[in-house]
Amino acid sequence: MHFLILTALKAEALPIIEVFGLRKNSKTHLYQNNNISLLITGVGRDKTKERLQNLHQVYSNFDQTIVANVGIAGGNPDQTKIGELYRVNAIFDEKTKQCFIPDILCKHPLIELSLTTVTNSVNNNGDHFTGLVDMEGSVIFQQMSRHVSIHRLIFLKLVSDHMDIDDRQRIIDVTGLIAKQVDLIKSILLSLDHHVLTNNVILSDKEFDIIQRGTAQLSLTETQVHQLMEWTENYVKLTGNNLEKLAPFFIKKSNSKKERNQIFDSIREFFSA
């Protein structure tokens, strides 16, 4: 399993970078170490949207990835404690009025609350909001649910204030707050390192590569590629055999449509048998 951690601020990221031993890749701006990556999205919906829309250029392997948004949030004074970490079970977008629900399938030790994503920071009347308030959550859900199944979208929010601090006087030790909970954050993420949470695959990387090279060698049409993939998956699933016997079909490069179709028919016969 791979983990992609998203934070809005560098101050939020620092303890996570340290605990996972991440290093910045100057080309991609991702902090990485083996299967853990971290991206700083910036604050607010516009910056976050822009960074995430371009994420696919520097990050792939979404089928095997858990995306975790970790960051500070304002908290309803009656429901939350400053410094406490919460798991988000519903996200309401104050601007668009949309509602997003992450799937919480695995056990975790946190209290769950809803999150409201706002456009401007909230400095007073914080008790008007239920649960938690942030400025990126709904955008992260919208953008990342295009890449990963929603049971692999995790929102962990640490309450930094009760939305009662004027921006001009706002001095919050964000890094210190996250640092106190970083071991808990780490253990929650690693507890999700479970193969059943990834997308199902039938062909191994090696088998997939054989088919890819074969289709290029034979210059198969898109429809033929699709059929070949389906037959191959059926074959592997039903027989449990590897694709060794398919190799001879891919040795020769096809020089004409006719030749390509003849080889393709032979492959069809092989699978039918």
Binding site: N89, A90, C99, F100, I101, D103, I104, L105, C106, K107, E112, S114, S145, R146, V148, S149, I150, H151, S191, H194, V196, L197, N199, N200, V201, I202, E233, N234, K237, L238
Partner: protein
């Protein structure tokens, strides 16, 4: 698939409550039943149920409950996938979407984007729709036969919410209404105190133990289903046996023969109302949707025919099944009481 792996939350750890569903009695019953669950209020059940990016089989490991208010239509005409069993006014409705069980061959995993269970709490609206449909049924001399367990296993839910009971009691108030309640559950006991009625057909799907173990995940074993069938017959209920789908694999004949022998030894066929028989079949769209998720079950990697948008076994294989059933039930039940899907 092992559903009860420790890392997963128990089923119904979360209840998603549609705001409009708050005022209904069934909602309160449900919330009382799951008082330890996390309740999340949502504006519309589709906010949860129809989300893009859901993984049906992963969700099956920790199903959530959604309480919602059904909007029209409340009742549907039977489809060609369903067997009408000779009832000419054949309809179905959907008091619950999705099932506690997880049968490999089930179309629900292709039909719905979510494995979560939706309970529609506005029972009265559904009942009124049935009454309206009864009035305009095409064959006015025949009753309206309503399948209430088409998109779920309603009886399996009886310990959670007594919806089968509600529908049976309701059917008794409607002279022209019959019900079919199809199940794989053993939940006869929760309804055993209800006085039996000929208006209700309790239908049990029976499969060889191998098929149960390999394809009917989370369902009760055959022997327990047979016990439920026996109890229902003893209490005077009309009982239908469903061999549907009959799954073909190497050695299927022996397993199904053993199944029929076991049934013959434990149940008198004279007391069975009728039998329905079918093979694996599924709408092309649903089949493709399931296949795309690369399911574990080998059923989705085999060769089928496509007949008018329905993926199913070849005509010759279907014929083999028919002959097999006819031969092996000959003398036990009149042929006109065996209904084949085809």
């Amino acid at each position: 698939m092992i559903r009860s792996e420790n890392s997963f939350l128990p089923d119904f750890s979360h209840v998603y409550l549609e705001s409009a569903a708050k005022k209904y009695e069934l909602t309160n019953l449900c919330l009382d039943r799951f008082s330890n669950s996390k309740v999340v209020e949502i504006p519309d059940y589709k906010t949860v149920f129809n989300r893009p990016g859901q993984d049906f089989q992963t969700q099956k490991r920790s199903m959530k409950l959604i309480l919602a208010v059904k909007k029209p239509p409340y009742i549907y005409k039977g489809t060609n996938m369903l067997q009408d069993g000779g009832f000419r006014n054949f309809y179905y409705n959907t008091p619950i979407l999705n099932c506690l069980y997880n049968c490999n061959y089930c179309f629900l995993q292709g039909m719905y984007p979510s494995a979560n269970i939706v309970v529609f709490v506005n029972q009265e609206d559904m009942e009124k729709a049935v009454e309206s449909e009864i009035k305009i049924r095409p064959y006015s001399n025949d009753p309206l036969m309503l399948s209430i367990s088409y998109n779920t296993d309603l009886l399996a839910f009886e310990n959670i919410l007594p919806m089968t009971r509600l529908w049976i009691e309701y059917s008794k108030t409607q002279p022209d209404l019959n019900l079919e309640i199809r199940s794989k559950s053993t939940m006869f006991d929760p309804i055993s105190d209800i006085e039996s009625t000929k208006k209700v057909l309790l239908a049990w799907t029976l499969s060889p133990e191998k098929v149960v173990n390999e394809n009917e995940l989370d369902t009760p074993p055959l022997i327990k289903r047979l016990k439920a069938v026996q109890k229902a017959i003893k209490k005077g209920w009309r009982v239908r046996l469903c061999f549907d789908p009959i799954i073909l694999y190497s050695g299927w004949e022996k397993d199904y023969l053993d199944l029929l022998d076991q049934i013959k030894s434990e149940i008198s066929f004279n007391e069975i109302f009728d039998i329905t028989v079918g093979v694996f079949r599924m709408g092309q769209d649903y089949f493709n949707r399931i296949r795309k998720t690369k399911p574990e079950s080998k059923l989705y990697y085999q060769t089928y025919t496509n007949e008018a948008g329905v993926v199913t076994l070849s005509q010759s294989d279907r014929e083999v099944v028919k002959v097999f059933i006819r031969e092996n039930l000959s003398g036990f039940i009149p042929e006109d009481r065996i209904h084949f899907w085809d």
